[in-house]
């Protein structure tokens, strides 16, 4: 993990993540934003791999890119007139928002710089899937089951909101 190559790759992923996130927020075209988001998710998945979260990285790609991003793209496509290739977006007053976001960033940097986080040896890089599976069946079984009811509620709700009212 300390080899120069590894460090370079890390910085590449970090750059991919942050730069594409900036593009998501600053881009004038909605489609560019959506595709930049794809790269952001990809970069985050790479960071997860560096942090030893192999299962999470795979989950991130499958759900975020394969699910959420596709949904967002559909959302973009379906909410514009079909042949209107504009897809430009407008912004509210940009400067106050920028100032607020900058203030947030500076505050967070201060927090990160000063805080003494909880200690411990950084965990070794091990495959996590089996352990996560066990945790879901033991310590976290309640949130696991509740999450399935939660998804059912979301499913019913989303379908109900968009369906044609046939009655």
């Amino acid at each position: 993990m300390d080899t120069t190559v590894a460090q370079i790759v890390f910085y590449v992923f970090a750059a991919i993540t942050v730069i594409s996130a900036a593009l998501v927020v600053l881009s004038r075209s909605l489609i560019y934003s959506a595709f930049s988001l794809l790269f952001t998710f990809f970069g985050v998945a790479g960071l997860y791999v560096f942090l030893g979260a192999d299962f999470l990285a795979a989950t991130q790609m499958v759900i975020y890119v394969g699910g959420i991003l596709v949904l967002l793209l559909f959302g973009v496509m379906l909410t514009h007139k079909l042949y209107n290739l504009d897809l430009k977006t407008q912004t509210f007053q940009f400067v106050p928002g920028l100032l607020a976001a900058a203030a947030v960033f500076v505050t967070l940097l201060l927090v990160i710089g000063r805080t003494r986080w909880a200690g411990g040896q950084p965990r070794a890089l091990n495959p996590t899937t089996a352990q996560i599976g066990e945790l879901f069946m033991k310590d976290y079984i309640l949130p696991f089951e509740v999450a399935s009811v939660f998804l059912l509620v979301a499913l019913i709700g989303a379908a109900m909101i968009v369906r044609k009212k046939s009655r």
Binding site: F10, V25, L51, T128, Y140, L151, A154, I161, V162
Partner: protein, 101 residues
Amino acid sequence: MIGLTHYLVISAALFSLGILGVLTRKNAVNVLMGIELILNSANINLVAFSKFASADLQGQIFAIFIIVIAAAEVAVALAIVLSMYKLVKSVNLDEADTLKG
């Protein structure tokens, strides 16, 4: 030597960019993208802390649940956005103004 701080700075940047997106974007789908950035930044925090600050995989488990919640939230949000588009033919937030205030 890549340490905890590197990851935290990246997530702080993502969080701030997400806030910027939420505050400045007019298109509802764009705001959703900003929200996704915020959630991802929290996830990076969780996984980084899980590796460096806690003895177990709590952070990663939490992150998995966040991904699940985010997916459900986007689905419902897009359903509502689509519904608005059918009614108003636009998803600009400054056209959502029949409710005053």
